[in-house]
């Protein structure tokens, strides 16, 4: 992977550390920090802030029963001489580097390590295929833009994070290569153009609230809680 030039904004990283990014956006950040030591340490710093903030909270004691319960569980574990859990699951980082650029979080989700083996679906946009990822909060999708393809000009309603996983694209914000993240909000209108040499694969997460069009939808909106 080439040197990473574009990172998520600091506010995005802080909210990821705080556990408050919607799932679709958090997924993109989680994948990016598997590649990016710089952002990883920023997230760790945000977590230390979290630790300090948690420590600064007014303590709310657990019940006495909870304390006894924990002591009992310790005793029980001892009597079963439970060995501490072995460090057995440290495979992710190494296994990852061998395989293209699929981050392990994504691999766990897709149960597939090869981008080319995924069931890509055509979209109405020419040269654009996608896979919608189910993540409950916001929308996440894998996008595959054909080499050299120009995307339609568009902007975003809420926040959008895009992580390049293979190939690259350019728009007015610059050139984006594998590992780079574009962190955009509604104010940015752009038109990415995929590089000529290969398809560009990226992971995009959006937190935009569902926008219903038309009077009927607007009418029912308050009742369906959107």
């Amino acid at each position: 992977m080439s040197r990473i030039e574009h990172h998520p904004n600091e506010d995005t990283l802080l909210s990821y550390a705080a556990g408050s990014l919607p799932a679709a956006l958090a997924l993109v950040v989680g994948c990016h920090i598997q590649f990016c030591p710089h952002c990883r340490s920023q997230v760790r710093a945000g977590e230390s802030l979290g630790g300090e903030l948690m420590s600064a909270l007014t303590p709310k004691a657990l019940s006495n029963r909870a304390r006894e319960n924990v002591l009992e569980r310790l005793a029980l574990q001892e009597s079963q001489s439970a060995a501490p859990e072995a460090v057995g699951s440290l495979k992710t980082a190494e296994a990852n580097s061998a395989q293209d650029t699929m981050p392990s979080l994504l691999r766990n989700m897709l149960k597939e390590a090869d981008f080319d083996a995924l069931p890509w679906k055509k979209t109405i946009a020419p040269g654009l295929k996608q896979i919608v990822l189910d993540c409950g909060e916001g929308q996440a999708r894998l996008l595959r833009i054909a080499a050299g393809q120009k995307m339609p000009v568009h902007s975003h309603r809420g926040s959008e994070l895009t992580l390049i996983l293979r190939g690259g694209y350019s728009d007015k914000l610059g050139q984006f290569n594998a590992g780079d993240v574009a962190d955009l909000d509604g104010s940015v209108e752009h038109q990415p153009v995929a590089d000529d040499d290969m398809d560009c694969i990226c992971l995009a997460g959006m937190d935009a609230p569902l926008a219903f069009k038309g009077w009927l939808a607007k009418l029912i909106q308050p009742f369906v809680g959107m």
């Binding site: 995005t12 556990g19 990014l21 340490s41 230390s48 802030l49 600064a56 859990e85 440290l90």
Partner: protein
Amino acid sequence: MADNAVEQERNGEFWAGCMARVAENRDKDSFMLLFDHFSPRVNAYLLGQGAASSIAEDLAQEALLALWNKAHLYNAEKAAVSTWLFRVARNLWIDKLRKQRGIAYESDENLEETVDADVRLNVDGERLKAVLDTLPVNQAQVVYKSYYEGKSHSEIAEETGMPLGSVKSSLRLAIKAFRQYFGENGL
């Protein structure tokens, strides 16, 4: 707590020492010191996130037991005990009621291995509170809502009436302020 003076002296180093004794000697007394200090704080954190009190109590116990069971994975060079516990509590909470977000975090076992920089905050709670107090209200509010209430940028914008862009820039300014106090490595 009756012995406030004693409690005051217990800093990050003290807790790291307790962790070492738990890891090496399976020392229950050290563990219970950690338990008595941290479980009410983890509990308060979870209640703030909106957990029902019985769930918060269960998860707080689980978080502290994870500390017992995974003490050998803890590396005092890389993180404060409070950081480690925050991560465990955050992930437990996400697993429990915000399952969707679970897709986005590495499991705790893998965490320490992926940390390469020393990012401990060299800061005590009092100083941190002091910095929080100096922040303009809107900045303190976005930090508070992000960490204590688990609110996303859009949710904060909606609740406070601030434009989304201002929520983000307020967070960035708060980070800048923390950095000024705690140094470039701090945050």
